[in-house]
Each structure stands twice: as structure tokens, then as C-alpha cells.
């Protein structure tokens, strides 16, 4: 009888130990689950914060760059508009034409110098910058050839295929640069900056 009792006690003890072990196991697994979930949440929150910080940094960089770029571009556009307007009135002679074209060339060269002097170009604007520089180079080349045409004094026999090609090319590059600028600033909700200055 005593033996039976002790066996029962041992059995109960073993059962209890097993139950405790199983309970502990379940508990630890659950705890681990909770911890993992917490860690995932934490990580997600961290990533979100990092992303927001990165985005706000990029946005800030874009806005800062535009603050420097805008007056330079506005000055260039203004000068060109002024010269174009003068050219719209009847030009009296070729000398006047050469003068206006030279001023136009100087304007784009000055724009190139100022643009390349800005520095701290946000990585996001690499494509825009390349298009803009290509446009400038193409514009300089086109205007230079036009100027040499005016100086050639063989006005009607001059082969202007190259001029036409360059005009086509520079127009295309200019548009691409503008579109890229709008795309990037639009993506970072900064499109209003471009609208303000247009």
C-alpha cells in the first residue's frame, strides 16, 4: 500500500514535472514569438524612421539645390528672352545680328560657368544635370556655328545641315532636362517650387 502510494506520488511528480516542462516550453516559445514580433515591429519602425529621415534629407537637399539653381536659370532665361525680343524687331544689318548672336553665346557660356559652380549636386539630380550640361554644350555649338555662318559672307551657299541638326538636338536635350527636373521634384512633392519660378 505504501509502495503504491509512493508510486502514485512519483507518477504525479513526473507528470507535474512534464507539465511544467511543457508549460515552460510553450511559455518560452510564446515569449520568443512576442519578442520576435516586437523586434520585427521595432525594426520596421526603425526602417520607417530611417526612410523618412532619408527622404526628408533628400527633399531638403533638392530644395536647397533649387534655391541656388533658380536664380542662375532665371537670369539665363531672362537674358535670352531679352535678346530674342530685340531680334524680333526688324534687325537693320548683319553687324547687329552678329552682336545679338554673340551676346546670346556669352549668355549660355556664363550660364554653364554658374551652373557648374553650384556644387553639392544631389544624387537624384544626376540625370537632370547631365541633360542640362549636354543641352548647354549643344547650344554653345549651335550658336557658334550660326555666328560663323553670319561671318562667312557666303550666306546663300552655306550648307546649314549641321546647324539644323544641332538645333534639333539642343531642343530635345532641353526638354529632357526640364522633364527630368519636374519628375524628380514632383516625386518629392516639390513640384510647387518649379511652378513658383515658372
Amino acid at each position: 500500500m505504501i509502495k503504491l502510494k509512493s508510486e502514485i506520488i512519483i507518477f504525479i511528480a513526473l507528470i507535474s514535472i512534464a507539465a511544467l516542462l511543457a508549460g515552460y516550453n510553450v511559455f518560452s516559445v510564446e515569449m520568443q514569438k512576442i519578442e520576435t514580433s516586437r523586434q520585427i515591429e521595432e525594426r520596421q519602425r526603425f526602417e520607417r524612421e530611417m526612410l523618412e529621415e532619408l527622404k526628408s534629407r533628400e527633399t531638403r537637399e533638392l530644395a536647397e539645390y533649387y534655391q541656388m539653381y533658380r536664380p542662375i536659370k532665371a537670369e539665363f532665361v531672362g537674358k535670352v528672352a531679352e535678346l530674342s525680343e530685340e531680334a524680333q524687331d526688324k534687325i537693320v544689318n548683319v553687324w547687329h545680328l552678329k552682336e545679338l548672336t554673340t551676346a546670346r553665346l556669352e549668355a549660355v557660356v556664363e550660364y554653364r560657368e554658374k551652373l557648374t559652380g553650384i556644387g553639392d549636386l544631389p544624387e537624384l539630380l544626376d540625370t537632370f544635370y547631365n541633360y542640362e550640361l549636354e543641352f548647354i554644350e549643344s547650344d554653345i555649338e549651335a550658336i557658334s556655328i550660326v555666328l560663323s555662318y553670319y561671318k562667312s559672307e557666303s550666306y546663300s551657299t552655306y550648307d546649314d545641315t549641321e546647324i539644323k541638326k544641332l538645333y534639333k538636338n539642343k531642343n530635345l536635350l532641353f526638354l529632357k532636362a526640364e522633364e527630368e527636373l519636374q519628375r524628380v521634384y514632383g516625386k518629392y512633392n516639390l513640384g510647387y517650387l518649379l511652378e513658383e519660378s515658372s
Partner: protein
């Protein structure tokens, strides 16, 4: 035959009448150019105004200046699609109409004349008609039909009076190399020429009208003023003016 003897007072009277007639004729002779100039200029002002009105009406109808070679005027199509780029690429070529894009084989003088000639340096603005006969030249400068049409290869020639009938070409001797001459057709086409030389020739020296491979415009008139002994020939060459505009200026 019986000789009539006039009294001294009668002789003086006749002499006075003859003198008055001669003086009157002389005065009329002197005033004639001024009279024709005043009449010519008044008429020209009205002709110019009519021409401008007609030009505006044609532009509103959207008439093309000339038949344009399709391969020439649409450079944008192979590069990019859409209205935006088309607007831009048209611009550099719109004023560049004086060269190969015009198919002269299908054009006649009616496509060009009457056209307006403008020379800002001497403030000249007249309507040029086709023909260089006496009647046409009384109305204003006229294009010699035997010479090429404006913008074409060779020496397109316009004649005009220098001292009478409004004296449209009175000041052409004041033009210098590089000065610009604008020809505007009623349908909106523009040809711009730059002066390259000036020659004085005899009326028989028609060789001057023979062209080279250049696209030239000659303005001819009498030389010196009040004389038809020689001809003054102003030579100019077709010039393309390329736009200075930025694309963005039109599209922003």
C-alpha cells in the same frame, strides 16, 4: 508780203507772255516729280494698308506661305512624339524658308506678288508688283519677270523709280554691305537678304542680271538722280536668320 509792224508796247507784252509761259512750263517741269511723288506716296499708303488687311485675313484662314517639302520641315517626328516637341522644333525652321524647302517648280509669280519690301535702314516700305513695264513701275517697284522668283537661285531683280512716282528707291545708294532687306509675301513667307555690293552700270549692261549659284536679289534704279544715263544696282544675298530663343520660353 506785207510786214506787220508791232508797236514797242505790244512787243513787250508778247515778250512778257512768252516769258510767263516758259517760266510756267519750267515750274511745272520742276514740280512734276514732287507731284508724282506726293501722289505715289499717298496711293502707296493705301495700297500698303490694303495689303496688310489682306495678309491678316489670309493668316486667319491659316494659309501656308508656300508648298513646303515635307521631308524638310518635320525634323522632330523621328525623334520624339507629341505636340510639345513639335511646337519647339518648328520654331528654328519657321524663318528659314529661303532655301531648298521651297519647291520652285510648282510656284508662280502669283505665289509671291504683290509682296512687301522693307529696308529698315532707309525706312523703305513698299509693295512690289510683278512686272517692270512703265505702268507697273508708276505704281511702285516691280519684279522683272525674266529673273528668278525671290529666294530662288540666281538674281531676282526688282526695279523702282528713284526720283518720281513716290521715288521708292531714292535712298538705295545709302545702303552698305550687311544692311538687311526684307521681302514679305502676302501669305506670310519672309525672305531676308543682306547687301553684298553696289554697282553702277550702263542700261545696256544686262549681263548684271545673270546669276551664279547664289540666291541673290538686285534692286535697280536710275543713276545719277534725275538721269537715266546709268543704272545703280544694289546686290544682296539671301540670309537665314536663326532664332535665339530658348525652347522653354515658349513652352513654360
Amino acid at each position: 508780203m506785207k510786214k506787220i509792224k508791232l508797236s514797242k508796247s505790244k512787243k513787250i507784252k508778247i515778250l512778257k507772255i512768252v516769258t510767263a509761259v516758259i517760266a510756267g512750263a519750267g515750274l511745272l517741269f520742276l514740280l512734276y516729280p514732287s507731284y508724282t511723288n506726293i501722289v505715289g506716296r499717298v496711293r502707296q499708303a493705301s495700297v500698303l494698308s490694303e495689303w496688310e488687311t489682306k495678309k491678316e485675313a489670309l493668316q486667319e484662314e491659316g494659309k501656308e506661305p508656300f508648298e513646303i517639302d515635307e521631308n524638310y520641315i518635320t525634323p522632330s517626328e523621328d525623334i520624339i512624339e507629341g505636340d510639345k516637341i513639335d511646337k519647339i522644333t518648328e520654331e528654328p525652321y519657321s524663318r528659314d524658308i529661303g532655301k531648298e524647302e521651297i519647291d520652285y517648280s510648282i510656284l508662280t509669280a502669283e505665289d509671291f506678288f504683290p509682296l512687301k519690301i522693307k529696308i529698315p535702314k532707309i525706312e523703305l516700305e513698299w509693295i512690289v508688283n510683278e512686272g517692270a513695264d512703265t505702268v507697273t513701275l508708276k505704281q511702285g517697284p516691280g519684279h522683272i519677270p525674266e529673273t528668278p522668283l525671290p529666294g530662288d537661285t540666281g538674281r531676282s531683280t526688282i526695279s523702282g523709280h528713284r526720283t518720281t512716282y513716290g521715288a521708292p528707291f531714292n535712298k538705295i545708294d545709302r545702303l552698305e554691305d550687311g544692311d538687311l532687306i526684307y521681302l514679305e509675301t502676302i501669305k506670310g513667307g519672309t525672305f531676308i537678304y543682306a547687301v553684298t555690293g553696289l554697282e553702277i552700270v550702263k542700261p545696256v549692261d544686262v549681263y548684271i542680271l545673270e546669276g551664279t549659284d547664289k540666291r541673290e536679289l538686285l534692286l535697280t534704279s536710275c543713276y545719277p538722280e534725275y538721269s537715266a544715263v546709268e543704272r545703280i544696282i544694289l546686290i544682296s544675298e539671301l540670309l537665314n536668320i536663326y532664332p535665339l530663343e530658348l525652347v522653354s520660353a515658349k513652352n513654360k
